[in-house]
C-alpha cells in the first residue's frame, strides 16, 4: 500500500519550510537513508532522507514551494511492485498536536495556617556546652555509626582532620574506607559522590569552603538536584554537601561569598543554614538521613562558638521548622546563619530603646517555614530581614514578596531587607566592615519601620 511522505520537522522550532529541491523523481527506487529532498528550515538547508525502502509514486509538492507546513504530504512511496497510479493511503494518523493543556495546577500549598511552635527537645533535657564544630563532628559520627552506607569525602577531611577540624577523630574511628581524602578536584569528586548516591550510598561531601563548590555546581544542580524528577521518581541522590559558607575574615572577594540564596532557588535541593550548635547537630543528622540532596551551609566564624546542646541520644531537628529565639511585639526580625548574630544583638539593643523585637531563625531555606514568619508578622505588623549575602535576589527579597502576598493588610510599614552590600568583598579591614551587614544596619532598619 502506498504511504505518504510527510514534510518533516527538522528542528525543535520548525513549523513550515521550503521544499528547495527534489533529488528523486517519480518511479525512482529508494532505500532507507537515501536523500529524497533538500529542505530549507528557519535555520539551515537540510537533506531529508528516506526512512523506508520503496518506489517514489507521486510527487505532491513541487520543488521551490515555500511555506510548506510540517506534516503536509509531499510525495507518495510505493512498496516494490506497486503501481504508481495506486491511490495514496489515507493521510497518516493526524499528528497528535499536543492535546489541549489545562492550566498548570497550583503548587501544592506550602503555607498552612498553623505554625509549629513545639519545642525542639523535651523540657528538662540536660544540656551541655559544645562548639558548633564539635556538634557537627558528633552528628556525622553518630550517623556513621548508625548507617554503614554513610561516608565522608573531601579535601583534607581524613589525615589532616579537616581544614577547619570539623572531621576531627573521624578517620581514627571509621577508617580510610569511610573517611576519604580526595585530590583537589571539586567537580570530579562531587560527581563521583552523586554517582555513589545513585548507587545506594549516602555520601557526605565536605567542601573546604563553598566558594570552591562553584567548580562543582553543575554536578550539584544538574545531576544531584534534578535526577529524581528526570527519572520519574526512580532514582535520586540522598546525600549532603557541607562546608563553611560566607565571609570569614580578611580573605577577600574569592573566599567570602554567601551562597544561601543561590542554592535556595533550586527545586530538588534542600538547604540548611544553622546558627547554633544544637541546630547544627540536629539538622546535620536530619540532613544525612534525608533521601534528597541537602546543601548544608556552615560558617567559619561560628565554628568555635559554644552553645547549649541537649545531651540526649538521637536528637534531630526537622527541616522547615523555624525557631523563635526571642518573642516580641513591635517588629519581626527574620534571619538565619550568622545573620542571627546581628539580629539578636540588635534586638537586645532595641529593647533598651523600648522596642520589642521578635527574632526568628529560619534554620532551613528550602523548605522555608513561612507559617512562623507570617504568624509573627501578623502580630507585629513589621518585618526586617537580615542576611550576609548580596541584596539582589536575596532571601529577604523573597520573604518580602511572600509577606506582601500573604499578609499585605497586616503590614504597617514596608518590609526592609538588611543584606551585605552589593560589592565583591574587599580586603582592607575598614572596607570589609563596610561591605558586611551589621547590627547597626538592623537597628536603623527597625527604627525606620517603627517610625522612631
Amino acid at each position: 500500500m502506498a504511504t505518504e511522505i510527510l514534510m518533516p520537522a527538522l528542528s525543535p522550532t520548525m513549523e513550515e519550510g521550503t521544499l528547495a529541491k527534489w533529488l528523486v523523481k517519480e518511479g525512482d527506487s529508494v532505500q532507507s537513508g537515501d536523500i529524497l529532498a533538500e529542505i530549507e528550515t528557519d535555520k539551515a538547508t537540510m537533506e531529508f532522507e528516506a526512512v523506508d525502502d520503496g518506489v517514489i509514486g507521486h510527487i505532491l509538492v513541487p520543488e521551490g514551494t515555500e511555506n510548506v507546513p510540517v506534516n503536509t504530504a509531499i510525495a507518495t512511496l510505493l512498496e516494490d511492485g506497486e503501481e504508481a497510479g495506486a491511490a495514496p493511503a489515507p493521510a497518516a494518523t493526524p499528528v497528535a498536536s499536543a492535546p489541549a493543556q489545562a492550566a498548570a495546577p497550583a503548587a501544592p500549598t506550602e503555607i498552612v495556617s498553623q505554625a509549629d511552635l513545639t519545642p525542639d527537645w523535651p523540657e528538662g533535657t540536660p544540656m551541655k556546652q559544645q562548639t558548633v564544630r564539635e556538634a557537627l563532628r558528633d552528628a556525622m559520627a553518630e550517623e556513621m555509626r548508625g548507617d554503614e552506607n554513610v561516608y565522608l569525602m573531601g579535601e583534607e577531611v581524613a589525615e589532616y582532620q579537616g581544614a577547619y577540624k570539623v572531621s576531627q577523630g573521624l578517620l581514627d574511628e571509621f577508617g580510610s574506607k569511610r573517611v576519604i581524602d580526595t585530590p583537589i578536584t571539586e567537580h570530579g569528586f562531587a560527581g563521583i559522590a552523586v554517582g555513589a548516591a545513585f548507587g545506594g550510598l549516602k555520601p557526605v561531601v565536605e567542601f573546604m569552603t563553598f566558594n570552591f563548590a562553584m567548580q562543582a555546581i553543575d554536578q550539584i544542580i544538574n545531576s544531584a538536584a534534578k535526577t529524581l524528577y528526570m527519572s520519574g521518581g526512580q532514582m535520586g541522590a540522598p546525600m549532603v554537601f557541607r562546608g563553611p559558607n560566607g565571609a570569614a575574615a580578611r580573605v577577600g572577594a574569592q573566599h567570602s561569598q554567601d551562597y544561601a540564596a543561590w542554592y535556595a532557588q533550586i527545586p530538588g535541593l534542600k538547604v540548611v543554614m544553622p546558627y547554633s550548635a544544637a541546630d547544627a547537630k540536629g539538622l546535620l543528622k536530619s540532613a544525612i538521613r534525608d533521601p534528597n540532596p541537602v546543601i548544608f551551609l556552615e560558617n567559619e566564624i561560628l565554628y568555635g562558638r559554644s552553645f547549649d546542646v541537649p545531651a540526649m541520644e538521637d536528637f534531630t531537628i526537622p527541616f522547615g521548622k523555624a525557631k523563635i529565639w526571642r518573642e516580641g511585639t513591635d517588629v519581626t526580625l527574620v534571619s538565619f546563619g550568622i545573620g542571627m548574630q546581628y539580629a539578636l544583638e540588635a534586638a537586645e539593643k532595641l529593647e533598651e530603646d523600648g522596642i520589642s523585637a521578635e527574632v526568628i531563625d529560619l534554620r532551613t531555606l528550602r523548605p522555608i517555614d513561612y507559617d512562623t514568619v507570617l504568624k509573627s508578622v501578623m502580630k507585629t505588623n513589621r518585618c526586617v530581614t537580615v542576611e550576609e549575602g548580596w541584596p539582589v535576589g536575596s532571601i529577604g527579597n523573597h520573604l518580602a514578596a511572600t509577606i506582601m502576598q500573604k499578609a499585605f493588610d497586616y503590614l504597617d510599614a514596608p518590609v526592609l531587607n538588611c543584606t551585605g552590600n552589593d560589592v565583591p568583598m574587599p580586603y582592607a579591614a575598614n572596607l570589609e566592615k563596610l561591605a558586611l551587614v551589621t547590627t547597626n544596619d538592623v537597628i536603623v532598619a527597625v527604627k525606620e519601620v517603627t517610625y522612631r
Partner: protein, 332 residues
C-alpha cells in the same frame, strides 16, 4: 578510523551472531522510527540518533554480567535497548507520554531504569563520567564485584572532569570501564579540530590506566575488548579505557544540516563498514542463517518497533499533577 575490513571470526557461534544481528537491527530500526516520529512532530526538542554506532553497545553488553551498571550521554536510545529496556517505554518517553520510563518528564536525553541498572541519559557533556565512576565507587564500597560501563564521546573526552575522574578512578582502583565512543565528530567539530592527539585511548597513560583502540564497526572485536576490560576491573585492578572507533550516519541531532562532512564520507562508511551488514555477511557465509531467516528477523523487529511507536502515540500525556511529583523523595 580503523579502515581494515574486519576479518571473519570463526570462534563465534551462529546463535551469538544471530543475537548480535537482532539487537543491532532493533536499535537501527527503532532509531529510524524515532527519526520519523520526530519529523511528524511527535517527538520534540533534541533527539540524538545512534544509527551507525550499534555495534558498540551491543558488543559491550555481551561482555557484561547481570548487575553490572551502565551510564551514558544524551545519545542513549541504543544503550537502553541493548541493556534490555522495553522499547515501548523508551519510545513513549521520546514522545513525552505517561508510559515513558520517566513518565514523560525526562525526554530523549534523560531516561533511567533502576531495574536494568541504567543510570541515564545525561545532557551535560562529560557529566556522566564522574557519575559513572561514582557508581563504581559504590560497588567497590559494597564489595559486590560489579563493573560500571561509563560511555562518553570524543568531544566529551576534552572535558576537565574526565581527567579529574581518571585520576580518582585510578587512585582508588574503581571498577569502571571508560568507553569513549569516538564517532569522529562532536556536533560539527571533527576530532582533529578539537583534540590535540588523535589517540584518545592513550589519555589514561599518565594516570596508569590501560587503554586500547577498538574497531567499533566490528561487534566481535568490541565484545573481545569488552571482556578484557571487564576482567581487568573484576580482578580489582582499577579502571580501563576503551576507545571505540565508530561513526554516526545521521546528524548530531535531528536538526543538523551536516555541512561539516561530505555525503560521500558517510556513504562510504555505510557501504564498506556497516556493522549490521558485517554480521549479516558472517551469518550468511557461515551458513548460520538463510536470507529467509534474516527476512523473518527483520519482520519481527519491524513489528516490535511499530508497536513501540503505536504505544508511544497512544499513551496519554502525563497528568497535570505530575508537574509537582518527584521533586523530593519522601523519607521511608
Amino acid at each position: 578510523m580503523a579502515a581494515k575490513k574486519p576479518a571473519a571470526k570463526t570462534n563465534v557461534s551462529g546463535e551469538e551472531l544471530q543475537k548480535f544481528y537482532r539487537e543491532m537491527l532493533l536499535i537501527r530500526r527503532f532509531e529510524e522510527k524515532a527519526g520519523q516520529l520526530y519529523g511528524m512532530g511527535l517527538i520534540g526538542g533534541f533527539c540524538h540518533l545512534y544509527i551507525g554506532q550499534e555495534a558498540v553497545v551491543v558488543g559491550l553488553e555481551a561482555a557484561a554480567e547481570e548487575g553490572d551498571k551502565r551510564i551514558t550521554s544524551y545519545r542513549d536510545h541504543g544503550h537502553m535497548l541493548a541493556c534490555g529496556m522495553d522499547p515501548n517505554g523508551v519510545m513513549a518517553e521520546l514522545t513525552g507520554r505517561e508510559g515513558g520510563y520517566s513518565k514523560g518528564k525526562g525526554g530523549s536525553m534523560h531516561m533511567f531504569s533502576k531495574e536494568k541498572h541504567f543510570y541515564g541519559g545525561h545532557g551535560i557533556v562529560g557529566a556522566q563520567v564522574p557519575l559513572g565512576a561514582g557508581l563504581a565507587f559504590a560497588d567497590k564500597y559494597k564489595g559486590n564485584g560489579r563493573v560500571t560501563f561509563t560511555y562518553f564521546g570524543d568531544g566529551a573526552a576534552n572535558q576537565g572532569q574526565v581527567y579529574e575522574t581518571f585520576n580518582m578512578a585510578a587512585l582508588w582502583d574503581l571498577p569502571v570501564v571508560f568507553v569513549i565512543e569516538n564517532n569522529q565528530y562532536a556536533m560539527g567539530t571533527a576530532q582533529q579540530r578539537s583534540t590535540s592527539s588523535p589517540d584518545i585511548h592513550t589519555r589514561g597513560e599518565s594516570f596508569g590506566i590501560p587503554g586500547e583502540a577498538v574497531d567499533g564497526m566490528d561487534v566481535l572485536a568490541v565484545k573481545d575488548a569488552g571482556e578484557r576490560a571487564v576482567a581487568h576491573c573484576r580482578k580489582g585492578k582499577g579502571p580501563y579505557i576503551l576507545e571505540v572507533k565508530t561513526y554516526r550516519y545521521r546528524g548530531h541531532s535531528m536538526s543538523d544540516p551536516a555541512k561539516y562532512r561530505t555525503r560521500e564520507e558517510v556513504q562510504k562508511m555505510r557501504e564498506e563498514r556497516d556493522a549490521i551488514d558485517h554480521v549479516r555477511q558472517l551469518l550468511i557465509d557461515g551458513k548460520h542463517a538463510s536470507e529467509e531467516d534474516l527476512k523473518a528477523v527483520d519482520k519481527e523487529i519491524k513489528a516490535i518497533v511499530s508497536a513501540s511507536a503505536d504505544f508511544a502515540k497512544e499513551s496519554p500525556l502525563p497528568a497535570a499533577e505530575e508537574l509537582w511529583t518527584d521533586i523530593y523523595a519522601e523519607a521511608t
